[in-house]
């Protein structure tokens, strides 16, 4: 035992090494390359050269402020909606699911297994101007006669909400499920009102799930471009659409790289603020 213990300090590093090395090589190093590229200037015809072109950053913000703001607006709305929509269901499964729990969870995860793009294309069909959703909304007067859903911001937000819903619902469920039922019963005895018990005990105990869920929804949503591309119109384009077209169509790598960094920086800053508000332990577990 003694011999074993002496070598023990090495064990965690050996366990960590392969995974961390992979992340370092294929996550950190590429970010370094991306940063380098974001400071290049030139054009695709003559090639790009590194020139400390900080101007890429300011011009990215100047030219695409609208898309940046829209990205965070859409992602924010989608996150809130996803939270409101899925919390009751996560609660229901966690406390009322009984032996059906796993089956119900399966239903939440199931849409995951239809390719993201196919799901979004299906929404394109459902929300179409001649589809039944628009017809019903016309009939009950929610939509004005010429109104539509497809190619609007509403459709984009709805698409984002739907596509990232499992990311919200699952962490919520996990944290709710871990709550000891006896605590809630005690709280209900203590606070007389169920609602008060929920607010004072159940909800705070589910906070780790709320934090994880909102982050897991908000982050991919802010960088998404597929929903805006398939369900939106140009007036609904997000920063992801700009980065994508700069990278894949215009081959304007420095501009795309600088925008990627701005996006990442804003998201990290928001996470830090969020972490300060709710406590870091919730974040990294």
């Amino acid at each position: 035992m003694r011999v074993f213990h002496r070598k023990r300090w090495l064990t965690p590093y050996l366990l960590l090494a392969p995974g961390m090395l992979w992340l370092a090589l294929f996550f950190l190093v590429p970010l370094g390359f991306l940063f380098y590229q974001s400071l290049e200037s030139g054009n695709i015809d003559f090639g790009y050269a590194f020139t400390w072109a900080w101007g890429n950053y300011s011009s990215a913000i100047r030219s695409y402020r609208g898309q940046f703001e829209r990205s965070f607006e859409y992602a924010g709305i989608a996150t809130v909606v996803a939270f409101l929509v899925s919390y009751p269901v996560a609660y229901w499964i966690a406390f009322r699911g009984g032996r059906w729990k796993n089956l119900l969870l399966l239903f939440i995860v199931a849409p995951f297994f239809v390719t993201y793009l196919i799901r979004t294309l299906a929404w394109e069909t459902i929300l179409s101007d001649n589809g039944f959703v628009v017809r019903i909304l016309h009939d009950i007067g929610v939509l004005s006669p010429g109104g539509r859903l497809l190619a609007t911001g509403t459709a984009v937000v709805a698409g984002i909400t739907y596509n990232f819903l499992p990311f919200m619902a699952l962490p919520l469920y996990v944290s709710l499920e871990q709550i000891d039922q006896r605590l809630i019963e005690a709280a209900e005895d203590l606070y007389a009102s169920r609602w008060a018990a929920f607010i004072r005990v159940t909800f705070p105990l589910s906070l780790p799930g709320v934090v994880a869920g909102t982050l897991l929804t908000f982050i991919p949503a802010a960088g998404d471009f597929i929903n805006a591309e398939l369900l939106g119109s140009p007036t609904n384009h997000m920063i992801g659409n700009v980065i994508e077209s700069k990278y894949k169509e215009l081959l304007d790598y420095p501009a795309a790289a600088s925008m990627s960094f701005i996006l990442m920086a804003i998201i990290l800053a928001m996470i830090l603020l969020y972490a300060r508000a709710v406590g870091t332990e919730q974040l990294t577990g």
Partner: protein, 282 residues
């Protein structure tokens, strides 16, 4: 574990049960509506896999046919795309789960210098939008084209990269939640660390490893953005869909989508049934 939890839950006051019953109905109806909403697009996808469109697009219902299922690979390149996706997902999920489980074990079981940095490095890829992951990897790979042409290996490397963090988080959650006394008991009984790990720890975290594996597989096979940047000329299934959707939507896309869905759900159902049965026996 479940056998410990069950008696706690069943101990409920009768009054509380009555109130809970009333509450259950509101929540139940709401939850059923929620599931209907969740399944709506899936239903559309499945239904339209049986459509018989006259032209290029599979948007309006024209009539029922089995044809698309019988000729699921009639579209050129579709079969190779789905094969590539499956292969990548299989390898990526296995490798990422292995690496991720090791990291999770280190994080939960050992105190060591560099913990915070490790946590951060696991957390960062999760907090980076996919488009940034894809773009940054492409800039790296563009510089390596002489040794590593952009294609199969670059897709695989990328997929393993973004799966690792998900695997770590999944396994870690389970490790934190479980009772260390069981391991201590095993050690007290004279088992060494390795035996304890294989006989006690591993069986206990096996469901978490399986969950990580499934999650990684699902994320990998579904990934479009990162792959789109790093696939070069290779075509995975999502990339095929993206390309096809712009000019035509052959119902075979729905067939494949439905097939993946059905296989995945069947596997998970089997898993649920199996676990329920085991829980009952326990």
């Amino acid at each position: 574990m479940t056998s410990v939890a069950v008696p706690l839950r069943s101990r409920r006051g009768t009054l509380a049960a009555a109130v809970a019953f009333a509450r259950r109905h509101v929540l139940t109806v709401y939850s059923l509506l929620f599931f209907a909403y969740l399944m709506l697009p899936i239903g559309v996808v499945i239904a339209f896999s049986f459509n018989d469109p006259k032209g290029r697009f599979n948007y309006t219902w024209q009539g029922f046919t089995w044809k698309n299922w019988e000729q699921w690979n009639a579209i050129p390149d579709l079969q190779s795309a789905i094969q590539l996706s499956l292969l990548i997902a299989l390898i990526a999920s296995i490798v990422a789960t292995l690496l991720g489980t090791l990291v999770a074990l280190a994080l939960v079981r050992y105190g060591f210098r560099g913990r915070a940095a490790t946590n951060l490095l696991v957390f960062l890829p999760l907090s980076t939008p996919e488009i940034v992951l894809g773009a940054s990897l492409l800039t790296l790979f563009l510089n390596l084209t002489s040794v590593l042409p952009i294609g199969f290996w670059t897709i695989l490397i990328a997929h393993i990269m973004f799966c690792i963090s998900f695997a770590v988080v999944t396994v870690k959650a389970r490790l934190i939640g479980f009772d260390r006394h069981l391991e201590e008991a095993a050690m007290d009984l004279g088992a060494n660390e390795l035996t304890t790990f294989t006989k006690v720890t591993l069986p206990l975290i096996a469901p978490a490893i399986l969950a990580a594996l499934l999650l990684c597989f699902a994320i990998s096979i579904d990934d479009f953005v990162v792959t789109y940047f790093n696939a070069g000329n290779r075509v995975t299934f999502p990339i095929f869909v993206w390309g096809a959707a712009r000019v035509a939507t052959p119902p075979q896309i729905n067939v494949i989508g439905t097939a993946i869905f059905v296989v995945a759900v069947t596997l998970m159902l089997a898993n649920v049934v199996f676990q329920n049965r085991r829980a009952k026996q326990a």
